[in-house]
């Protein structure tokens, strides 16, 4: 057995706590983890609150002693929320509509980004600047005139009001999508395209058979983001399309539709916070699912926009 050396104890402890250069010692790491955990608790508090409270019964909601762990899981809240939100029809309706718009936005961004990245034309810098500037223009500034345009085109209250801007690269955050594609096409070596050109391929063929297959990762990122953003957009969608086409819009009138289903006065059917929160959970659940399957694509998106330089 090795003899325990008292003299070595203090240096060893010192090394354990402070490490070779402090930043690999125990204290440093411990502090960082504690900080991260507490920050993420603060950060996720609303979600946790929503999740926990959506399972609470009325008794638990009133009882101040019950904060984080409900005495019993009440799935009745979810059943009611499902009914009030019109499941399962509404989720397919929402997904179908958002899918259409976000595919349109993705494809148009791919084409436009290629135009900016590959070709030199007069006014290119100006137009590119304008394209980036459209990001800061809130849709509320243009809504007054856009309503009139859509009325004149006779497409008010149809999905074309969202589809047409998306197709022409003017939809929600379209500037970011175009920028992602632009940065990606810039990284493809021009020699690849030139050799195809020498072999007699037309520009459209080069775009279709070289640029597009290489850009699939960008497609995924842009599609995911546009899906999420179009799903979450409620102001413009409510104004132009209306008719509670997406789940968030249905959520806005949750109280009314709930009271139509369960008239006030019916025993045990009062709308309480738990049911409201269950409705919220249901609305964000599809996006959460998407996020947990594709979170890598989401978190790598910033590197793709190339705003960090080089």
């Amino acid at each position: 057995m090795k003899k325990f050396d008292k003299k070595l104890l203090i240096p060893r402890l010192k090394r354990f706590f402070f490490g070779m250069k402090f930043s690999d010692g125990f204290i440093y790491k411990f502090t960082i983890y504690i900080l991260l955990i507490s920050f993420s608790y603060i950060y996720l508090y609303p979600i946790l609150y929503m999740f926990v409270n959506s399972f609470k019964t009325v008794d638990d909601l009133i009882n101040p002693g019950v904060k984080w762990i409900p005495t019993s899981l009440d799935f009745e809240n979810y059943a009611r929320a499902f009914q009030a939100l019109g499941f399962p029809g509404s989720i397919f309706e929402t997904t179908w509509y958002v899918l259409k718009v976000s595919v349109a936005a993705t494809v148009s961004a791919a084409v436009i980004g290629y135009g900016f990245a590959r070709f030199n034309f007069p006014l290119k810098k100006l137009l590119f600047g304008v394209m980036l500037a459209t990001f800061i223009l809130p849709s509320q500034v243009t809504m007054v005139a856009n309503m009139l345009i859509f009325r004149n085109l006779n497409i008010m209250s149809t999905q074309w009001t969202m589809l047409l801007p998306a197709i022409s690269g003017q939809g929600i955050n379209a500037a970011i999508f175009i920028l992602i594609f632009y940065q990606f096409y810039k990284t493809i070596p021009a020699i690849l395209m030139e050799s195809a050109e020498i072999d007699g391929a037309s520009q459209f063929k080069i775009f279709r058979s070289i640029a597009l297959p290489l850009a699939i990762p960008s497609f995924i990122i842009v599609f995911l983001f546009s899906f999420v953003w179009y799903w979450n957009e409620s102001f413009i969608t409510a104004l132009y399309v209306g008719g509670q086409i997406t789940l968030p819009l249905k959520l806005q009138v949750f109280r009314a539709s709930y009271e139509a289903l369960f008239p006030p006065g019916t025993p045990g059917a009062e709308l309480n916070e738990a049911i409201m929160l269950a409705g919220n959970m249901v609305t964000i659940f599809p996006l959460m699912l998407l996020y947990f399957f594709a979170q890598r694509n989401f978190t790598q998106s910033i590197d793709r926009t190339g705003i960090t330089g080089e």
Binding site: G115, N120, Q140, V141, A145, M276, F298, S301
Partner: protein, 363 residues
Amino acid sequence: MKKKQKKPTRRLDLKTKFAQPLARFAAWREKVRLGYWKHVAPFFGKIKHALNHNFILRVEHQQIKLFGFIKIALTRKRLNAIYGFMFIFIWLVGLVIFTLYPMFYSLYLSFNEAYYNLEQGVVTSFVGFTNYINIIRSSTLLPLFATYIGKILISVPLIIVFSIIIAVLVNNPIKMKGVWRTVFFLPVIISTGPVLTELMAQDATSLPSLQSSAVFNYIVNNLSPWIANPLASILNSMLMILWYAGIPILIFLAGLQKVDPALYEAAAMDGASAWDRFWKITLPSIKPLISVSVVYIVVSMSLFVESGGILDLARTHMLVGAPDSAFWHGYGYAAAIAWIYFILMVIMMAIYARIFSGKRKDR
């Protein structure tokens, strides 16, 4: 042995199971292909024919012929320009129809009194700056604008500092980096207007300890409303404001990962402490990214529509407004509100971008 015998039969099963849909898909594809050649391709062919067999415009021998005598040689540069405009054509059209025209038309409307009626469309009458003056005089809108300005001015530095702290923490050599990134990006995915409104209504967006603290009460009771209102609204929705940090955190993380580790080593060799290294290396290297984040934060904060907020009021003015209504003033008034909002937003963005990147010129 039994397993080995089973597998092929199962595979065969799958094959027979999918054989029919696959065959149907192949038939459908063939149909589409034939349909393309039968209906669509001749159309393109006709266009091509028309382009080459007319008097006005003709492409032959690497040159474009206009009216038979103006010849434009198709140099590589010109071809590039033509193809470039072809690719961005749809964007140009969209820009004019859905962005530029509405922008200037709403600017025009904001100097008019404009109402919509079914027979004549929009009826406008020029009133000059009346709409803007009315907004400044309005007792509901002016405090809202003040609160909006205060909110943005206070919360932008808050978000920037918070996201830099988180980014620096996550950038340390820790385990499960991906998990932390996932956690801090989650709010971007789920922050939709109605959900945020509901969370705010239920007081889930502020920390209970913060709200009941003496500081909070002191602020609300003792300061004048123009500064107390934004402060209170920020403290009340503290967590929601921090939620805007989702994308800035990623921006700063991406910036931090670009920093050369040799720089830190060299600084450590020369005896710089971790504190020095943060201020002298980390912060300067992510400084250019701060203005990008400011732009993103201001835009995303401004686009959030509170019920009863400025944008909500603008919408109601637009939709409900009628010449005989005493409260709702129609399209022109709504356009003026939106324009003031937009200009304030750009001014604040410019101020912060200037503050955070102003020192770069000195170096």
